[in-house]
Chain length 177, copies 2
DNA sequence: AACAATAAATACCAACTAGTACGAAAATGT
DNA sequence: ACATTTTCGTACTAGTTGGTATTTATTGTT
């Protein structure tokens, strides 16, 4: 039910959602309270579905380059398309989000950034990353680049081209290794 | 009149635009025909205002690194905020654009990509860029990274941090030089 | 000064939005 | 088997959207 979101994020109305779900409008409102509540639930669903595997990947003990490759394959594979872009879309359209959704998006984003930071620090400790790059900058950089990948995929970019660009960008992190 | 656009792009309605402009609604429709026409005119205005200087910068005869630095300063300076993000916003929200606007956005985007490509080829010829990177990939890469910078600025990112990330990304192009 | 022609704005349209009041139906307790 | 409560959907707000028909004001001409 929650998964019917990913056709667009802000491009779909409550009426349309209820129609597609086959549920009555008051039913949806009884279940989720408001549009904000529905979005919040959708983000939570997205978190467990998509962010979970991603965090696992980031926490795995393999070399930086290998994790990166798997990561890029994971977020650029066509099957990721439906829900893969939700967080990226929501983060690039703040202001029109309800308070619940905004808070949850922030929470997920911070969780991700923490995972990026420990990932990069581990790479540093192993000598797999350029020591001239501050972990803070690297964290934001990883976040930005991965978000960009998701947005490009959401806009229908070619997986190969998107991946090639991302690999090029990430090569900046491992240059001095 | 056209400049009243930049508070948001898809976040503002015709009613609101007319109200802010102090013009009557039929007046605006007589002038621009439709919402699509107004958007088209806004993009054209944006092209001459913002893209012009940018193309000049790209075509200048200075070293790659210097052009890049000026470019980043230009698109991350606070004064660029109002209109600076228009193209990036429109490109990340296709599908809800009218045919005129869509065509014009495509046209401007292609114009930019051509400029990026000749810029990179010149850098290659001068030995300022990594010869292992295909001009096609580099073109898309530059396009993607600059769009990302504009989007980050539109979302209120810190200019220093945004610039630092961009410099890190672009360092991948000049690595083998 | 009276009248025709044109410009522009008020007031409207149908279709949509998020959200709900209320009656009907179904499940429940006795 | 009946009464009560609880679930559930039709039908409805109130407001906004892009877009326009009609009326009002302004102008030029005689």
């Amino acid at each position: 039910m929650t998964s019917y979101w990913c056709d667009g994020v802000r491009n779909v109305s409550m009426n349309e959602i209820c129609r597609r779900a086959g549920a009555s409008k008051p039913g949806v409102y009884r279940e989720f309270g408001s549009e904000d509540g529905l979005m919040d639930a959708a983000v939570e669903h997205y978190r467990t579905t998509m962010i979970g595997p991603l965090l696992e990947l980031l926490a795995s003990d393999q070399p930086f380059a290998e994790v990166l490759e798997r990561l890029l394959l994971f977020i650029t594979e066509p099957s990721s398309k439906p829900a893969g872009c939700l967080l990226a879309e929501l983060r690039s359209a703040p202001g029109r989000l309800g308070p619940l959704t905004a808070a949850r998006v922030d929470s997920v984003a911070e969780e991700l950034r923490n995972a990026y930071e420990t990932w990069f620090r581990r790479a540093l400790a192993r000598g797999e990353a350029d020591t001239m790059i501050s972990p803070d900058l690297a964290t934001h950089f990883i976040d930005t680049q991965l978000t960009t990948v998701l947005l490009q995929m959401a806009l229908g970019g070619e997986p190969h081209l998107v991946r090639a660009q991302a690999e090029l960008a990430f090569s900046a992190l491992t240059r001095g290794a």
